[in-house]
Each structure stands twice: as structure tokens, then as C-alpha cells.
Amino acid sequence: MNMLELRQVSKSYGQGSAGVQALREVSLTAGEGTMIAVMGPSGSGKSTLLTIAGTLEMPTSGEVLIAGRSIARTSRAGRALLRRRLIGYVFQDFNLLPGLTAAENVSLPLELDGMAGRKARAAALTALDWLGLAGRAAHYPDQMSGGERQRVAIARAMVGDRRLLLADEPSGALDSVNAEAVMRLMHDACKNAGMTAVIVTHDAQLACWADRVVFLRDGQVTDQTAPAPGPESLLTPDRDQ
């Protein structure tokens, strides 16, 4: 099943000569367990695509389906429920609450959704453990490195039954080693935990962790990579003996 499907999605802001066409008939599908990267320069519509995929905004035209369900035919309350239970967001600047510990930051969305505190905390500890942060559960964000904070943000985006991970420049504030660690974790979340991820980035080295890279330009999908062959072709020895 496709976890996310965008069909001919367009989005415009304003009207007439002052209007801006942020997306033009964008079609995109992301099956379960796949990781997709969206690359493009500033102003190409990457972030708009992500906010529409995350149901934070509605398209001007076209259709968005999440887990096979049409967003246009879902009530406002239904969309809020989808956002709370099915979709996790990761941002460049982590967006952690400074007054809460790592475990409290991760369990907060579950508690806000009505889950009992003890159960939410157990789920948060499981998510932190999966991301290698079991020993940091009681630490506050300012006691952690940038890489650790982003891992907490990923734990928060994956906690509970969330299946769709939407990330906007998730490693933009990290050095290359930590950035790679974050991409590796999101890749593992797709391959081993069945998550689906759409990651927006302008960084080719990070985009390359995805199964497919989609190129966006002036609000349009202009191109995408073919399914990547295995690395064997790079390593086949050319020996004469």
C-alpha cells in the first residue's frame, strides 16, 4: 500500500499578478518502508510539498491520500487525528521543548492524544532506546549535543504507531558525521521499522540515503532518479588474472 500519494497537486497563494504558484501538478507516491528525498533549490516548493503531505495545508487542486485515505474527504478533526497518530515531523532546528527531558519530549504527543502517562513514557523509552538514547532519557535538550537532540526529535516523530515521517532539512544544523548518523537512523526506520519517509533537503550527500530522489524546480517535479542498482557495479574488480 502507498503510505503517501500526491495526485496532480497544485498550490497557489494570492491571486492575479500578486499570486504565487508554489506547486504545479505534483504527483508523488511513497510506498510503505520507502524513503524519498526531495531535492531542489530555495523557493522550488519543497517545504510547501511537505506541509501539504503532512495535512498542515490543503492543496488548491489535486488529491492527497495518506494510507489510502483521501484528505479532501476527511474532516478537520479527522486530519488532526491523522497528524497526531500517523505522521511524525522532524525539523532542522529540532523543535524540542527546553523545559522537558528527552523522555518527556517524546511522550508528550502521546499524552496530548489521551494516552495514560505511564504507557506514553514506556513507548517513549522504547523509541529512545531504538535510537541509542536510552541513557539520555532524563537529560534536558541543553544537556545534549545537536546530533542527540535531532535523534530525540526523530524518536518523537516515530513514537507510538506513527508510520509517515516528514523531515524538512533534518540535518541542516549538524556536522557531516552527525548528519550521516541522522540519515542512517531514518533509513533504518524505513527498512527495519516499516516507516515511510519523505525528506526535503538541498544536500545531495544526504538525499542519497533515499531509495528515490525527486528533483523539484519552480514547483514542478522535473526529474527523479531510477531505482539505484546495488554497489556491486562500483566494486567489480577488473582483473586480468
Binding site: 531535492m39 538541498h202 550527500q205 542519497c208 540515503w209 530522489v213 531510477a226 539505484a228
Partner: protein, 200 residues
Amino acid sequence: MSVRHAMLALLSEGPKYGLQLREEFEARTGEVWPLNVGQVYTTLQRLERDGLAESGEDDGEGPQKAFRITAAGERELARWLRLPPDLSSPPRDELVMKVLIALHVPSADVHVVIQAHRRYLVELMQQWTRIKEDDAGSDLNMSLAVDAELFRLDSVVRWLDAAEARIRRAAASGAPLSAAPRSPVRAPLPRHRREARTQR
């Protein structure tokens, strides 16, 4: 890639056979640069000829012949490790040439040309990333060699991004895409090249 100096580096650890050198070379370079046996023995013969490696009568014959580094070889290895490769002259890069030419071919859309190369580079980078993925960072040599290749390809993608932005800006401002031919301007030499010239 200097196979000659890589062989010297391996011999600096102690005497080794030709086949052993090939296996260790590939392991040290993360198996990114395959090497055939013929190259190994040709290189060893040249090292012997130049007095940088040696093999005695007691060192066996054929594949069982062991080679060791000489004192001159040790000095040559130390000199080579510290010597920066000559990166001061811009290479005649085929990709750069294609983009520059596409700008002036009426039937070519330079943006389509740029995107074709960008997609190819990203696909290549995806393949290199798969190696890191499978390896999970446990092989340091492999990680370093793959990183080097990824950074190299990434720099070309960045150049394509910058080139495209520059071309768009020029087109938006109505500036001509080609300038009248000028007399060539010689770029100033980097400091270490100037010093090298002065010393000659």
C-alpha cells in the same frame, strides 16, 4: 592513485609477497580501487630497479618471493606522504566543457543538460551510499574511501547547482550569455608554486 607508493607503505610494515600486497592494498583502500596481479609485479620490479625495494636470494621465487623496503624507499615514502598533489591548474573537465558549450548551442537547453548530469551524479552517489549502508561504518578504510568519492561527486553537484543559479540570474537580468573574446588573463599562481619556481 600512486600504486608505487601504496606498495612502499605496505612494505614499510615488513617483508611481503606479491599476492599478499595485492590483498592488503585492496583491503586498505576499502576495495574501491581493484588491482591486478600484473600491476603489482610490474610495480615491484620498478621499485627494485630504482633501489626503493629489494628481494634477496633467500626470499624465494615467483609468487613466494618476498620483497622488503630499502632505506631509500623509506625516505621516498616519507617525502611522498607530505607532498601535496598539484591541484593548482584547473583540469580540463569534460562536464564543465559540456555545460559551457551547451550555453551557446541554439538547439540545446542548458538546464536540461545540467539536470541530466545532476541526476547521473546523484544516482552514482546513491550507489556509493549503498556501500556505506551495507557496511554500517565498521570498516574505517572503506568509509574513508567512500566518503572521498562522495565528497568529490557532491562538489560537482554543487557546481551544477551554482552554475544553474548563475545562468538563471544572468537570463533574468538580460545579460548576454557570451562575452566578446578577450586577451587571456593569466591567473596568479598559488603561493607554494611561486616559491617552487623561485627556488629553481
